[in-house]
Amino acid sequence: MNEIGGVPGTPGPSGSPGPRALPDRSRGWLARAGTSWETLLLVVAVAIFLLNAQLSPYFLDPWNLSDATFNFTEKAMIAFAMALLIVAGEIDLSVASIIALASTAMGFAVQLGAGTPVLVAVGLGVGLACGAFNGLLVARLGLPSIVVTIGTLSLFRGIAYIVLGDQAYSGYPASFAWFGQGYVFWVITVEMVLFLITAIAFGVLLHKTSFGRAVYAIGNNPTAALFSGIRVPRVTFILFLLTGLMAGLAAVCLTSRLGSTRPSIALGWELEIVTMVVLGGISILGGSGTVPGVVLAAIIMGLVTFGFGLMNVPGIVMSIFIGLLLIAVIALPVLGRRLLRARR
């Protein structure tokens, strides 16, 4: 919490001696343009959509598109909560491991004969408990979140490995499949509905409530926030709880979709989710960014993955593209601003 949660992303841009964390001022023209980041993302999303439609005749099929949403819905649910956490200057790298642990707990519950409602409760409960553990270490004990969650990343998945080893749980009840495989109406999947609900919920929480304003205040200056009467540790703790809860929800969806649990489930998702959040325009230094941006980033990543998939491009090559996109998207505004300044 001190000095932006010890997130090691606090260098003065390009070694300038100026103040280190003033996103509002250093991003002046960007912030003033307000929606421009989201507009840019929207343009990119539409462009990729049209390109995909041009390149593959199979793209515009509603069922194909519906299937494509599975690429991002589960990750996006977590990304929304993660977005708030990163706005507040913290980070949670343990989310994928929470999925593994929650999924393992659900698998264990199945062996004891649990029904669908109990399974969902177990998944969400384990997610909440893991989030509370992270929150306790970061918010109450004041430890740097990046290190704590690297530790719990190993710990949570490690427990899943201890329980399961090289085994797998399966035999989930048929009614449990509804979350990951069910359709609400025509091609609209249950996961899509959950995606929309969580997007709206976190959008409202961040942009329309005093809690959301507190999150921005903490991200910009935790000390000033504290002295303005914001209960910083409490807000941080709640954010970790929410992130854990969303990881639990994603675990329910993913487990239901796959129908089985292995300890390597959702391996490496934490980095994809952080990429999604940063691509969505959330500053990794905290203090700025919006939920709609993350929604668009999630859709872009889903479209790219799906489009490349239709062109038979292997997944690992797509990841090069995502990596380049991530760096380019962050670097371009910085370089553009420098160019603008040089011209003056």
Partner: protein, 339 residues
């Protein structure tokens, strides 16, 4: 702080000795020189990588791309060896260090010149480097029979009875100890991480120093890339996958502060050895290797709890007290000065 050995390093060394003693109590063979030497050799690559990561973390940055850099460099070196078996091995080793350093320089320049937060840069290059391996190798494996004998034998050569793999770790440890305690650039690492603003006023180019740290980390990752591929005699897309987190874990256990400016070579060495001992002790005491991940996770959390006490800076005590007062009950305002 900043010396070669700190009190915390002593505590960690004690913990390490206790750990070894505990295992040896049940299984005396574990404490024999031969066995412990094997553990050191097995930890060599983690030690080298941890020292690279340490230089970066000291400057308040982080390098998540080290394992991908290792894998990419290893693949390039292995492919070169397969294509031109006559090329002398020292040339290949120099090539590995060079390629690794170049990849590190890419990270460093993006952090320095483009002003992108290091965690974002290296998150990006982590996936890009890994993807490039697939592109250049077309997803194929380079197997033992395709590599030349000299290529595979080098890490196993044992001058003075110590494998070259262990020698390389020893040399890197000594070089880094000299670098961080006896050179201007080495001291600049601590200054930049301890207080970047003050470092600027002391005449240190923070961006350049960070870039140098990334180049060093990259070069060491490249060296490890050759060692890894030669030792296991195989190169494919996923080698050392996820190893970047083990490296950071070794640093955290070694007492290197993620907030920059605090940490020693001895600490990083001990942190890496700690993980190495756990990894090698589990099969000896007949615990399933599946426990390893959870144990290292728990060790990280315990270590960071310890670090937090050491890192509390005297200048911030007043503010800290105010923060604690503010967080427990309704805030009683104490003068909030130093930051």
């Amino acid at each position: 702080m900043g010396g070669l050995i700190t009190r915390r390093d002593g505590l960690l060394a004690l913990a390490l000795v206790l750990l070894v003693a505990l295992v040896a109590w049940r299984f005396p063979t574990f404490a024999t020189p031969g066995f412990l030497g094997g553990v050191f050799t097995d930890s060599s690559m983690l030690i080298i990588l941890a020292l690279g990561q340490m230089t970066v973390i000291l400057t308040r940055c982080i390098d998540l791309s080290m394992a991908s850099n290792l894998a990419l460099t290893g693949m390039i070196v292995a492919m070169t060896n397969t294509a031109v078996p006559a090329l002398p091995i020292p040339v290949l080793v120099a090539m590995a260090v060079g390629i690794g350093a170049a990849l590190g320089a890419l990270n460093g320049l993006l952090v320095w010149k483009a002003g992108i937060p290091p965690i974002v840069v290296t998150l990006g290059t982590l996936t890009i480097f890994r993807g490039l391996i697939f592109v250049i190798s077309d997803g194929q494996w380079i197997n033992a029979h395709e590599m030349s004998d000299g290529f595979k034998a080098l890490p196993r050569l044992a001058p003075l009875g110590v494998p070259l793999l262990a020698w390389s770790a020893i040399v890197v440890v000594l070089a880094m100890a000299l670098f961080t305690t006896r050179t201007g650039t080495g001291r600049a690492l601590y200054a930049v991480g301890g207080n970047p603003d003050a470092a600027v006023y002391a005449g240190i180019d923070t961006g350049r120093t960070r870039c140098i740290a990334f180049v060093i980390a990259g070069g060491l990752a490249g060296l490890t890339g050759y060692l890894w591929v030669a030792r296991y005699a195989v190169a494919y897309v996923d080698i050392a996958g996820g190893f970047e987190l083990d490296v950071i874990a070794a640093c955290v256990i070694g007492g290197i502060s993620i907030a920059g400016g605090i940490g020693t070579v001895v600490g990083a060495l001990l942190g890496a050895l700690f993980l190495g001992v756990i990894k090698n002790a589990l099969p000896v005491v007949d615990i399933s290797p599946f426990w390893q991940l959870a144990i290292s996770g728990a060790a990280i959390i315990v270590a960071v709890l310890f670090n937090a006490r050491a890192e509390r800076r005297p200048g911030r005590i007043i503010l800290k007290r105010a923060e604690r007062a503010g967080s427990s009950t309704d805030s009683t305002m104490v003068s909030g000065g130093a930051s």
